[in-house]
Symmetry: C2
Subunit: 109 residues, 2 copies
């Protein structure tokens, strides 16, 4: 645990990654690398070793599905898409997130 400030951020992120993935996939299909890029764009840095198990988890919960697609450069890609059940879950997560923000704001007063 070399960098304390990084650790704070890592811990705060916990439990929010699933939410972020669902949010990203609510707009478009994507495969792992493009999801990582999207997360980077939001400054939610994540490594492959974190993302892959997470995607598998979400797929097993039937919140995501995927299809294989050939790539022009390299091996085929697994494109993930959100399911109806995933959208329901996303709605719940939106609510949970909003409550969390309210909770923190309440403690800031």
């Amino acid at each position: 645990m070399e960098n304390i400030s990084e650790n704070i951020r890592t811990q705060m992120r916990k439990g929010l990654l699933e939410y972020c993935i669902l949010r990203i996939l609510s707009n478009e299909e994507a495969y792992a690398s493009s999801i990582i890029e999207a997360l980077k764009g939001a400054k939610m840095i994540v490594v492959e070793g974190t993302l892959y198990p997470l995607l598998i988890r979400l797929k097993n919960q039937q919140l995501l599905s995927y299809r294989w697609e050939e790539s022009t450069q390299g091996p085929p890609r697994k494109y993930y898409m959100i399911t109806d059940k995933g959208r329901e879950q996303l709605a719940e997560m939106d609510a949970a997130w909003n409550e969390l923000v309210e909770s923190i704001n309440h403690l800031k007063k």
Copy 2:
């Protein structure tokens, strides 16, 4: 895990409890039960088994200190207070939280 919605909230809270404790103690000294009450007021429900180890952890990191105080009803209480180092950490956590909120907002667009 029986209640999925609860689990979502539990996971989202992860890493934020330390932040909440420091925020609460930034205004006033408090002992465990009163901290739990404050968290309840913000709808961040937490149980003793979570809070006590957390307080000990924060104390070992020298972000908190405490003093014993007699109680009119029951055994003495451990009143915790934030240290200077704790206030520095709190400032970092404020920044981390703000960035996190921005990250999520970014993904919502």
